[in-house]
């Protein structure tokens, strides 16, 4: 399969993730959307690595996965704390920054 097929897939996954981030009301859903966007990037990196015979992309992907795990851990911890304090994880209700 040619490179652009992977790139289109990655773009689709990224767009789906972004859509999720923007539209999901549940904080956990938003985290899932972020996860999708990150993995779309991973697909891109791996595809470029494969087609250009350059290991740097693979190594980057490994780093990204590790960081993603950490991010999910921190994100979920924050969601739990918010739930404890506010008794909700609805994004619409988390508007303490409103001007």
């Amino acid at each position: 399969m040619p490179l652009h097929a992977y790139l289109i897939l990655a773009a689709l996954v990224f767009a789906i993730g972004l859509f999720g981030v923007l539209t999901r009301k549940n904080a956990v859903g938003i985290l899932l959307g972020i996860e999708l966007m990150l993995n779309a990037v991973n697909v891109n990196l791996v595809a470029f690595s494969r087609f250009r015979d350059d290991l740097a992309g693979l190594i980057f992907t490994l780093f990204t996965i590790a960081i993603t795990v950490a991010e999910v851990a921190v994100g979920l911890a924050i969601v739990i704390v918010i739930f404890r304090v506010r008794r909700t994880i609805e994004a619409d209700h988390l508007d303490l920054l409103r001007g």
Binding site: A91, L94, D95, L96, L97, R98, G99
Partner: protein, 610 residues
Amino acid sequence: MRIGSPELALLVLALPFASFLAIGLIRPLRRSGRPAAAISIVAMAGALLGAATMSWQGLPVARALNPSVLWSWLPADGGPMASVGVWVDGMAMQMCVLVTLISLLVQVYSWSYLADEPPPSLGRYYAYQSLFAFSMLGLVLSPGFLQMFVFWELVGLCSYLLIGYWYERPEAARAAVKAFWITKLGDLGFVAGIVMLWSATGTFDFWPLFQAAESGALHVDGLTTIMFLIYLGAVGKSAQFPLHIWLPDAMEGPTPVSALIHAATMVTAGVYMVARAYPLFALVPSLLVLIAWVGAFTALLAATMACVERDIKRVLAYSTISQLGYMMAANGAGAPEAAFQHLTTHGVFKALLFLGAGIVIHHFHTNDVFRMGGLFVQRPWVGISFLVGTLALAGVLPPGFLSKEAILGGVLHGHLTGPFVLLIVTSFLTAFYMFRAVFLAFFGHAHVHHEHPEPPLAMDAVCRALAALTLAQGIWAVVAGHHAEGPAWLPWASLALAFGGIALAWATYQAGVLDPARLSAAFAPIDFLARRRYFLDTIFAGAYRFALLSFSRVVGWVDRYVVDGVLNALSAGALRAGDALRRLQTGQPQDYVYGVALGVLLLLVWAQVR
């Protein structure tokens, strides 16, 4: 023309200034009171000695000699703009003697008169007195208009400070401010006039101006306007109609101050200035006629007001205005020598009258002549001194008689029949109102019977000295043969008028032949107006209030709607803009992500399009 030593003139100027600096700057000295007074008096005595020596040693010189010693002042590219120095001619020397003499006597008198003042106030008083003497001497010795103006303003300041000496009293504070404002009105004209003269001729100095004026080489466009503006300064300072209204109120100051500043010296500065600058005034005959008319009218107007005044100091104040009117009329009639002669004699006997009035007020504890009486029997010496002054003022005793004759003769000689008639009526009124005060205060029934302390020795001695000086001046004038020009009937006519005035006062207030009420009813309209000061104070107060209020309204409107308006618009705009922008901050994280995504998209599109 006589010329004196400039070094002595500078010494005369320096002594009171040194005394002022010492008292003014050394705080413990000022607050100690009596020592400060002693220093001021000693300095004044030294100045008198210097002035007398200067006058004594004055040498007669040719007319063409410049009597001034100058130092350049205000350096500019094209040479100095002005000069300072001393101008020591006969008039200045006589004036120096008069100023230092009256200052000294008044300061000695004040030593007793203000004995009850707290020491710090007394120190302040003597500091002002020294400053005044310095300023007045500086004015007298000025060799040019600019220096004269500087000292002119300084004496105005001293007048303000001394009228308001008892500044806790609202009337005194008001009177001080009034005197300051009214004279400033004239001073505006003065300063505008001398600057215009300077821009036309390039000099402030008297000598080149007078030389050019006398040789007919002075060609200035609008000289009439310039000289009129300069004359306005004299109108304010010498209390000419219509700016005379400050002088009666100035009597709120201590009596010695009234004697020195508002009778003998400062108020004569205007007369002195016009007499000094006479060569220039002589070039504008139409203005001289105006000066004569205004002077004569002022003399009569003030005399009528003096006739109905109850306050003895104010009677004297009106008589001062009236006599200043005489002097100005003489200036206008082309007889500045007569004006100056009257200035010197008037200075002495008016100081005598004021200081005598001070003793009278001290005795009766009131200013109201109708609540006085019988002082002549109790204090014959005070009575005799006061009577000497009164007779001189009424034009019966030689110094006053001769100088007044000189003025009347001069006015007649100048073919000014109108002013002459006004002045002759005034001389009748002068005798009347002065003897009205004398009969009421010194004769008649004693209204209060409790025992009074003797007047302090210093006050009494000063009065006697002034009375002796008045007589000496008279004798000297007769011996020196000051024969007034004018027709032979003039002295007899004016003597008859003076005695007529005295007789009328005697008949009304002493013998009781005439009822004062009937007398005032006979002159009902004048009486009505004079008692209300011809509504001039009301008009001035109204005009002042109107001008001030309208100006304040305009300023208030500008402040409220223009200044505040701009600020309010700015702050309202900022508030609205902030309110609109606030709505962008929803606090929803997803909205921010929208923003980020949109931003990235726009950047991408922009990168592509570029």
